[in-house]
């Protein structure tokens, strides 16, 4: 699992612009790059374009101009098959709202992304169990989201983001709904996973303290990189 420390470029964005149909320019010529194994935070206020950037990186949205390249190859957003593969194989998502499926237990939520990848049930189960243990929830695997605290739900979401062994985890305000103590725990967990597994993290946040724990901070304002 460990992808090594050799610093190679994982992703690079060049002059990425995104204009919504209502004329709002969410991203305006954003250029940023990231090495493998890095934990980068992108700091910005609400509405600064953080989420849009994450959605484009995750293949959930497309950009209007510029290039987005992963491992040196530009992503073709018109090719649906390529985008689905990108979502399935390269990225994992963590959301502010946790976005766990309420009808499923913790372990089923973690297993869920693997169903779309055709992973057999027993394999799914063992992988999900290992990850839930790593995020410290081995005793809660059969609990439903409503039976878990906010911090626990986000831990399940982190396990779910990792289950398909992505190159990068895209976290959108992962601590936005958590108190400061729990937030600190979640950030520590992401740091630990980043170090142990070599998975890159791209964390969008408005929290300066959280951002400060990253390898590198990028600041975004009004759709432009400012630092």
């Amino acid at each position: 699992m460990f992808r090594g420390n050799a610093m190679t470029t994982l992703l690079s964005l060049e002059g990425v612009t995104r204009v919504y149909q209502n004329g709002v320019k969410a991203l305006d010529g954003v250029s940023v790059s990231m090495e493998r194994g890095e934990l980068v935070s992108i700091l910005g206020k609400s509405g600064s374009g953080k989420s849009t950037l994450l959605h484009i990186l995750g293949g959930l949205d497309r950009h209007d101009s510029g290039t987005v390249a992963f491992e040196g190859t530009a992503l073709d957003y018109r090719n649906r098959t390529e985008i689905i593969k990108h979502r399935r194989n390269r990225v994992g998502f963590i959301f502010q709202q946790f976005n766990l499926l309420p009808s499923m237990t913790a372990i089923e939520n973690v297993e869920y992304p693997l169903i779309f990848r055709g992973v057999p049930r027993s394999d799914r189960h063992s992988r999900a169990r290992v990850l839930l243990e790593q995020v410290g929830l081995s005793g809660r695997i059969d609990h439903y989201p409503t039976e878990l605290s906010g911090g626990e739900q986000q831990r399940v979401a982190i396990a779910r983001a990792l289950v398909s062994e992505p190159l990068i985890v895209l976290a959108d305000e992962p601590t936005g709904n958590l108190d400061s103590a729990t937030s600190a725990g979640i950030v520590s967990l992401m740091r630990e996973i980043n170090r142990e597994r070599g998975v890159s993290f791209f964390i969008a946040t408005h929290d300066r303290d959280l951002a400060a724990r990253a390898d590198r901070i990028c600041t975004i304002a009004d759709g432009r990189m400012v630092a």
Partner: protein, 404 residues
């Protein structure tokens, strides 16, 4: 692949479980539609079977009468060689070439006449002589159908074994009718059969032929087939040889054609309820997609392709269809039993024995193919109804969907 389908199926069942009441109502909607269609068709089938049974009981289904016919502009007469040809048709077990004529008694009683070889016609018609004996070949002897024999004996003093003059009507060169008397000797009266042969006079064919000087070939060949299932096949073969084929089987075909139309009309009316059922599924699934918009968006973010999303919706539709179909089948079986157990005696007591033929054994008949068709219709209908909601779900923008 199949394991993955099983995973999706399990998930679909769980999603359906989260909205039990709506699922129940939708399933009921489909079930009522299917039961309505199966119920009306079963009623039609019941009536059809009764009608066919009635014809079967009162007629000789394995008997075919081949008459001269036309094929591709050529007329085919029934000659001795074509009689041999007909005998070689598969499933023909007995046959008798016949001549038809009509004579009159001295009291002007109309006498339909059949001229045939005595042994052959006995075999093909299963004739039983009730009193007297069968006529001998080459003689002027005759046997009479039960009704005709009884009538002539009672009202015209006919006696078995005594000559009985009959009139052959001829026309002279100017077209004027002229009756000529010939003497025949009735030697036997046949057992009652409840068909048209109860009122015929059967003579040796040579005698009848002698009275029809201009006749070319025979008028018809009576054919017995092995079983009633082979009748249509034999009739088809005869038609291919250029002959016309008729018999009681035609009545059954006519009943079947008529009932096909009646059942179709019934089914179309009942089908309206199926359309309603389909709209209910579409509505349920539209609401369901709307309610699950967020989950669909999350699934897409987690790697679900458009095809996966469509499959999620269509699998739910499939399950609704199967449940509705099975419930509809159960309801139609129950409806059918109620009709047969309660409805039939009620109708009989109300309308009396006149309708006992119509309401013979069962009022409603459900066959296994009908049940399979009912389930099939439910499944196809539910999948069709799910296409649009599934398409809508698959076209959702994941980012927008997750925000809802």
């Amino acid at each position: 692949m199949s394991a993955m389908l099983l995973d999706h199926l399990t998930l679909a069942i769980r999603r359906l479980k989260t909205r039990k009441v709506r699922v129940l109502l939708t399933v009921l909607g489909i079930a009522i539609g299917i039961a309505a269609v199966l119920g009306t068709v079963s009623l039609g089938e019941g009536i059809r079977m009764q009608a066919v049974e009635t014809i079967r009981a009162s007629s000789d289904l394995t008997l075919i009468e081949a008459t001269p016919g036309n094929l591709d502009g050529t007329s085919y007469l029934i000659t001795p060689s074509s009689v041999e040809h007909i005998r070689s048709v598969p499933h023909v077990t007995a046959s008798s070439a016949i001549l038809k004529d009509s004579y009159a008694s001295q009291h002007q009683t109309y006498l339909p006449v059949i001229g045939a070889d005595g042994e052959e016609i006995s075999e093909v018609l299963n004739l039983r002589v009730e009193s007297g004996k069968m006529y001998t070949s080459g003689s002027a002897e005759a046997v009479l159908g039960a009704d005709l024999g009884e009538y002539l004996r009672r009202y015209e003093g006919m006696q078995i074994g005594s000559p009985f003059p009959v009139m052959v009507r001829e026309y002279d060169n100017e077209g004027r009718p002229r009756d000529r008397e010939i003497a025949i000797t009735p030697v036997g009266i046949l057992s009652p059969r409840d068909d048209r042969y109860d009122s015929v006079l059967i003579l040796d064919w040579a005698l009848v032929a002698a009275e029809k000087p201009g006749q070319q070939g025979f008028d018809a060949v009576l054919i017995r087939t092995g079983d009633h299932l082979a009748v249509a096949k034999v009739a088809g073969d005869l038609q291919e040889l250029g002959f016309s084929a008729g018999g009681a089987f035609e009545q059954i075909e006519a009943v079947n054609r008529f009932m096909d139309v009646v059942i179709l009309i019934f089914a179309i009316f009942a089908g309206v309820s199926l359309v309603v059922g389909g709209l209910m599924i579409a509505n349920t699934m539209m609401i369901s997609v709307y309610e699950q918009t967020r989950e669909i968006g999350i699934s897409m973010a987690l790697g679900a392709a458009e095809g996966d999303v469509m499959r999620m919706v269509l699998l739910e539709c499939l399950l609704l269809g199967i449940m509705g179909g099975v419930a509809g089948i159960a309801a139609s079986l129950a409806f059918s039993s109620v009709l047969n157990v309660v409805g039939r005696p009620l109708l009989l007591s109300r309308f009396g024995g006149e309708f006992s033929g119509l309401f013979g054994d069962s009022l409603s008949v459900i066959t296994p193919p009908m049940l399979i068709a009912g389930l099939g219709i439910a499944i196809v209908l539910s999948l069709l109804s799910g296409i649009y909601p599934a398409y809508r779900a698959a076209r959702l923008d994941p980012v927008e969907a997750m925000r809802s």
